[in-house]
Amino acid sequence: MAPRQIWTLYIHEVRSALRERSILIGSIVIPLVMYPALLWAGFAGFSFVQGQADRLTSHVAVHGLPDTHRALVDSIESNGRTVVVRWDDDPAAARDEVARGSLDLLVEFRTVSDGDRTLDDNFQATLYYNGAQDRSRGARSRVESAIESYRQGWIDTARRDLDIPNPVWADFAMARSDVATIEESTRFLLAMIVPFLTLIMVALAAFYPAIDATAGERERSTWETLMTLAVPRSHVATAKYLYVATFGAMGGLLNLAALTLSLRWILQPLAGADAQELAQGGLPLETLPIIALGTALLGLFVAAGMLVFAIFARNFKEGQSMITPFYLVIILPAIFVQSPDIEFSVGLALLPVVNVALLLREAIMGSIPLLPGLLTLASMAACVAVAVGFAQWVMRNEEVLLGSSKGGLWSFLKRRIGQWRTTA
């Protein structure tokens, strides 16, 4: 009888929720479209900004350029988007112009001479730019690369003139090579961001259902109707809990599916061949069951926590303000888990939310330590059992039941402790 009653209650909750626009958006639409929308918007936005920056003409003043290096001006202007003017007046005035934004950059040349140890016509260039102006930073970047290129050419010429062979010149040259495959690098990147985003999505997807299942009932005046059903209150609490957990876990799983599909179907066509390997290095298939389990665990935990806080709310506004601190508290630790230096230790495996975030991270990286994994399961199961038991106990309280309880969880606990002390 009990499973059937809980199932009927659960289906009733889910059916109502699927017809509620705010829940549909928060729990299904956002997790599904967030990645495609973000990737598309990010890529399009980046392309647009870069295009705009490329079209900008930089106005650069040069002061004190040695005659032997006149060719440098041509080098700077060679990109077709930089106009160079010679500044023979006081350079301080040009610096003021840069500060005001009427000039993008001042390049001040100073001859460097240190006897035999320097090449003839050596110079030092100081670039004065305005860090608060995007176009000034752009001009600096263009001129820096032009000077660097010119410098390299000048050094090569000097080397040849001095008859120094290239291998000698190239002593202490540095080269680098990444031994990780693109697939591994992508996994590393995903392992850093996916646990955090999954947690956000699970919490977001459970947020409105948790309020709807508690404060929503009171606001609609259906709470008392529900309380007159011929079922134990614990069944009502269990069904509500399962409803919130389902939506939380569903949000997380939809989000992961959207991530995988977005990498393949959005990023790859947009970025072309460069992103082909990146797209193929999505979530490893063999770890999907563990990732799904972790997401489900997060859904179960977040739902239990949110219900415990929301159960005292008399309306949606109260519900939002009571759940929000819990929402923030569970998200904050996950930010720190993004650091690759943090190990999935036995101690951290006992810490709710952090443990699942680490489990997800390890699963995406392709290795799951057995003991911390099992401890994560045990720890989360214990937390969920305590939270659901607490919610069931609270639902037996008449003040809470009738919505006459003032304040939230802490006020309730304070009153209960006070009553218990008086009785004792």
Partner: protein
């Protein structure tokens, strides 16, 4: 004895379907301290009888009915519905009664047909007969035209019909109506009273709370006058007239409540 719920009721042939004995409810209020909302209430309600609970706002009517429907637990005393004790067998008590009040609204996102099906199932109506019972009520309450429209889109009159159908969908032997006409217009209130009269004809035991004297006069077989949580008198209208020597129920109520200044009494009640 068994009913439609497959044995949810005990043998009550020798006793009334509803009985309370010294039923008391005390609330603790931060400002007022101990508040005795219901004080040693003794009541019975027989089959085919409408028992009216008549009292001013805050007299203890709703608290009494909430204890009978197991929404609240009594602080002291006992109560039985169809032989089931409210504290020890709350689910059986709830399966034996239908509860209707202004604060028992319908779910806005589901349809009347889904509503009736849900409440029938949850209140232990035999699962094989649920669909037939739902269609019977859809026909009886003439809600065919909007049976598959979401409740949120219905007018208040339509909602009222669905709400009453929801209350009786599991065919409970006991019905509780807590100030049911308080938010209704005149025509809907008349329709509801007629329906409650018909339920009496079907042998249901009905508890009907109101603060409207004319309503109690028209509808109730017996009237219990409740004031400050205490039952001051119980009887038929004729018995109450005979006992007080007064004709109008309003006068009888004022007599029992010993209210010299109704305005002052109303203010006290609010406090």
């Amino acid at each position: 004895m068994s009913n439609a719920h497959g044995g949810a009721t005990k043998d009550t042939a020798n006793g009334p379907p509803v009985r309370t004995q010294g039923l008391t409810k005390i609330f603790y209020d931060e400002n007022r301290g101990e508040v005795r909302a219901v004080d040693r209430v003794d009541l019975t309600c027989q089959r085919g009888e409408i028992l009216g609970l008549l009292g001013a706002n805050g007299a203890g009517k709703t608290t009494t009915l909430r204890m009978l429907s197991t929404v609240l637990q009594p602080t002291a005393g006992r109560a039985w519905v169809m032989g089931h004790e409210v504290r020890s067998e709350p689910e059986r008590v709830r399966a034996s009664l239908g509860f209707y009040s202004a604060s028992t609204a319908l779910y806005p996102k589901i349809t009347p047909r889904e509503t009736l099906r849900f409440f029938a199932r949850m209140n232990r109506y035999p699962s094989r007969q649920v669909d037939d019972r739902v269609e019977e009520l859809v026909h009886r309450f003439k809600i065919e035209d909007y049976a598959d429209t979401r409740v949120e889109k219905l007018s208040s009159g339509m909602k009222q019909k669905v709400s009453i159908a929801r209350t009786v969908v599991h065919d409970p032997p006991v019905l509780i109506f807590d100030e049911p006409t308080v938010a209704l217009d005149v025509l809907n209130a008349i329709e509801l009273r007629q329906f409650i009269s018909r339920l009496r004809g079907e042998g249901k035991a009905i508890l009907f709370s109101t603060h409207i004297m004319s309503e109690a006069e028209q509808l109730c077989d017996r009237i219990a006058i409740i004031h400050h949580g205490e039952i001051l008198a119980t009887g038929t209208l004729d018995e109450l007239r005979e006992a007080t020597g007064l004709h109008y129920l309003e006068e009888i109520f004022v007599h029992y409540a010993q209210v010299d200044d109704p305005a002052q009494a109303a203010e006290e009640q609010l406090r």
